[in-house]
């Protein structure tokens, strides 16, 4: 059983910077996993709320909104630099990628700083009661995604500052922006659950 040449692929591109690439697909699978973790945890939140007599438990009160709402606004605004980074990556514009990676890092750090006040705004600790446990867990999970994203941004930025980027680094820069969209998009429902639902 011999073979015959049927398709010649030598003209096909060796790198693509969009949803056709393997790393893109890998990133999508990862965000699906993370989203499912959030969904299950939110499910647990509502399960505990369903069996509770009072939600939040007596003497804790609904969480304060100032810090969390400020942070939500900050996060929504931060989509703009992520978008700029995404576009700079697609244009393969080294200096713009550097700039927007840096701005993204700054936004992420500011968000992380405000996150401390969000934890405080819950008015309880993780070990106060089940309400505290599940709200701290939701915030904690989102924070761990945030830390991962900051670390990734720092890695890509370091490469763009000290090494010569090739095609797949521009893709990394784009995906860094995409991961940030994920962080923003997941936070909106999580904010509603943690900060608004206790007021309903």
């Amino acid at each position: 059983m011999s073979s015959r040449a049927a398709i010649d692929v030598s003209d096909l591109p060796t790198a693509v910077l969009d949803s056709r690439s393997l790393v893109w697909w890998g990133t999508v699978v990862m965000t699906v996993i993370e989203t499912t973790v959030f969904a299950i945890t939110v499910g647990a939140y509502f399960y505990l709320r369903m069996i509770a007599h009072e939600w939040p438990p007596p003497r804790i009160g609904a969480p304060a909104l100032t810090a969390a709402t400020a942070n939500l606004v900050l996060l929504i605004v931060s989509v703009l630099p992520a978008l700029a980074l995404d576009r700079a990556g697609r244009r393969r514009d080294i200096s713009a990628v550097r700039l927007w990676l840096f701005v993204n890092l700054a936004f992420g750090t500011a968000f992380l700083g405000l996150r401390v006040f969000e934890f405080k705004a819950l008015h309880c600790w993780w070990n106060s009661n089940a309400y505290g446990s599940v709200t701290w867990t939701i915030l904690g999970l989102h924070t761990s995604n945030l830390l991962t994203s900051l670390l990734e941004t720092a890695f890509v930025l370091a490469w763009f500052l000290f090494e010569k980027p090739d095609e797949h680094h521009f893709l990394d820069a784009r995906l860094d922006g995409v991961f940030w969209y994920f962080i923003v998009i997941t936070w909106i429902p999580l904010y509603l659950v943690v900060f608004i639902v206790p007021r309903l």
Partner: protein, 634 residues
């Protein structure tokens, strides 16, 4: 039994070609590192797949020895072979080992080995990440057994119900070991799932549209998607049990607004799909073996694919049938009874398709076919007792008795181990270049089939007689002695079968008859390359225009123009499999091992003090950075 008698004549061997120069360039570009350190750096999907399989069988032996110990203890009333404390540890270790360290990983390993070959690509898309998955699995297993041998084996059952598994009733670190190994196995399963999902969607041979994907690949695809949605539930469950035990959260503490049933919901939302994660790959193996044995396409391809997909969906709607005894609302119970009964539909469809495939064909009775026939017999019985358990009144009668133990072993051993052993017999020539001994394989089957039914069938009756599971002994007046003795004798026969299997593997590795490229005359792409395949799998990548490329084509069409001097993959479009672009993948590296170690230190350390967790994460940053820096290395 000569090798030539069962191999195709050389001119009929499927040869994808490639010039001498291309071959030597491919050899250089894809070369794995040599020496002991090279072994630690491997990033080849076949090497890692084989490691999963071999390691899983190592754990299978351990889990099997634990089963034998339990059977010896229960062989007669008031036996003193094991004390109750050790018995608790052993049944927990047995379940944990078999579910998390044997059944799932062995399926992951076979998927990792064969999916890239069957879709016609050179490696998985993230080879280094893939290596991390294996190291996590191995480290998790070593940790579990180190705890066990240090008298710290988990002892609250493999599904660790709270409040028993909470810190109030299980102080010390026994349950902590269970909680942490869950993290290890879930990371490893999620990594394999990500690798294989992207492989199936983006790296299929040109022309392999969705309706030409081999059935085994479909079964693995559905399984991996189930992994993606099931594992997060156990991430949550294990994470919250861990934090309840270590930092004082109250997820399961009713006094502070928590709830014990939350554990059962989140565990079984993972745990029931887990059964299908084990079972679906086995269905794919059955289909593969049937088409090769009957030398015809499996009847009802579309119906089987749709059955696999619908089993995947339904698998997520059944978890509450593990909780019928917890006093849930009757409406909910009826819903989950209906959903559980519904699973019989897609399974029945597949069974009829398989029968139709065999009907009128002249199948060759090789051992792999015999294992499939054994599977039919046992699995149908397991399925029927499953239907019985799905109805609430009967479930309440036999809940927590040996009836359930009998049922679950009929489903898991019949549904997964029989097809698995068949698949290993079938694919062994591809993996090693040698056949497994035929006669020994028949004996393995005979002992296993007899031993299995002798061990587990009496358990149904014991369940009806009221014998509870997880109790270390019983009184003579109960009258459970004779059936238990029978069951123990059966377990001995199973041990003989498994021993014969290992003897066969070891002997065949050294002296088995040589196999050619396609010794069974099968139709799928893994047979279109040498046995064992080179690191890069194919000299030239195949192009397909049907579901059975090796049967339909006179001359195999191939891809040209892919670079041979670097590790290049051909990426294709997800739906129709037309070529999209080429992509280079990273090669072997020791960094996956290093980062697995630093992260494991964090995870295992956190059992003793929480601060180890951030410490492990911090220690993982330098290797992660080095990883990112070296991804482009040739």
């Amino acid at each position: 039994m000569s090798s030539t008698a069962r191999s195709l004549p050389v001119e009929q061997e499927p040869d994808l070609g490639g010039t001498e120069k291309e071959r030597s360039e491919l050899d250089r570009a894809w070369r794995e590192r040599s020496g002991f350190l090279g072994l630690l750096a491997s990033a080849d999907h076949k090497t890692i797949g084989k490691r999963y399989i071999v390691t899983a069988f190592g754990f299978f032996v351990l889990g099997g020895l634990e089963a034998l110990a339990m059977r010896l203890q229960l062989a007669r009333p008031e036996n003193r072979f094991l004390n109750p404390d050790l018995y608790d540890q052993i049944f927990t270790m047995h379940g944990t080992t078999m579910m998390f360290f044997f059944a799932v990983p062995v399926m992951l390993g076979i998927g990792l080995y064969f999916v890239p070959l069957m879709v016609g690509t050179r490696n998985v898309p993230f080879p280094r990440l893939n290596a991390v998955g294996y190291w996590f699995y191995l480290i998790g297993g070593v940790y579990l057994y180190s705890s066990f041998f240090a008298n710290g084996g988990p002892d609250a059952g493999w599904f660790d119900y709270v409040p028993l598994a909470g810190s109030e009733f299980s102080s010390g670190h026994r349950v902590d070991a269970w909680v942490q190994i869950i993290n290890f196995t879930e990371v490893s399963a999620l990594i394999v799932a990500s690798s294989l999902i992207v492989t199936v969607f983006k790296q299929r041979a040109p022309g392999m549209s969705l309706n030409r994907i081999p059935l085994f690949v479909w079964s693995i695809l559905v399984t991996m998607i189930m992994v993606i949605f099931a594992m997060p539930a156990v991430i949550f469950a294990a994470g919250s049990l861990n934090s309840d035990r270590t930092i004082g959260t109250h997820f399961f503490n009713a006094a502070e607004g928590g709830d014990a049933l939350l554990w059962q919901h989140s565990f079984w939302f993972f745990g029931h799909p887990e059964v299908y994660i084990i079972f679906l790959p086995a269905l794919g193996m059955v289909a593969t073996i049937l088409s090769a044995s009957c030398r015809r396409e499996v009847f009802g391809y579309t119906a089987i694919v749709l059955s696999l997909v619908s089993t995947g969906f339904l698998g997520f709607g059944l978890w509450v049938h593990h909780m019928f005894a917890t006093g849930l609302p009757q409406m909910g119970q009826s819903f989950f009874t209906a959903a559980s009964l519904m699973i019989a539909i897609p399974t029945g469809v597949q069974l009829f398709c398989w029968i139709a495939t065999i009907w009128g064909s002249r199948p060759r009775l090789e051992p792999h076919l015999l294992f499939v026939l054994g599977f039919f017999f046992i699995f149908v019985i397991g399925g029927l007792t499953g239907l019985m358990l799905a109805s609430v009144p009967l479930d309440l009668q036999v809940h927590d008795t040996f009836f359930v133990v009998g049922h679950l072993h009929y489903v898991l051993i019949g549904g997964a181990v029989f097809p698995l052993l068949g698949a290993l017999y079938y694919w062994f020539p591809k993996m090693t270049g040698r056949f497994l001994g035929r006669r020994l394989a028949f004996f393995t089957f005979g002992f296993l089939f007899l031993g299995f039914n002798l061990t587990f069938f009496p358990m149904h009756e014991l369940g009806f007689m009221g014998m509870p599971r997880r109790v270390y002994t019983y009184l003579p007046e109960k009258g459970w002695g004779p059936l238990n003795l029978l069951s123990t004798i059966g377990a001995g026969l199973i041990a003989v079968a498994i021993l014969l299997f290992f003897v066969n593997v070891v002997r065949s590795l050294r002296r088995g008859a040589r196999a050619g490229m396609n010794p069974w005359g099968a139709e799928t792409l893994e047979w279109a390359t040498e046995s064992p395949p080179p690191v890069y799998n194919f000299g030239r990548l195949p192009v397909v225009s049907s579901r059975s490329p090796l049967w339909e084509e006179k001359e195999l069409p191939v891809v040209t123009g892919l670079r041979t001097d670097r590790r290049e993959l051909l990426v294709t479009h997800a739906l129709d499999g037309t070529p999209s672009h080429r992509e280079e993948v990273p090669g072997p590296s020791a960094l996956p091992l290093i980062i697995s170690i630093t992260m494991s230190i964090g995870l295992i350390g956190s059992v003793f003090a929480v601060l180890w967790l951030p410490a492990g994460a911090l220690a993982s940053i330098p290797p992660a950075l080095a990883w990112y820096w070296t991804e482009d290395e040739p």
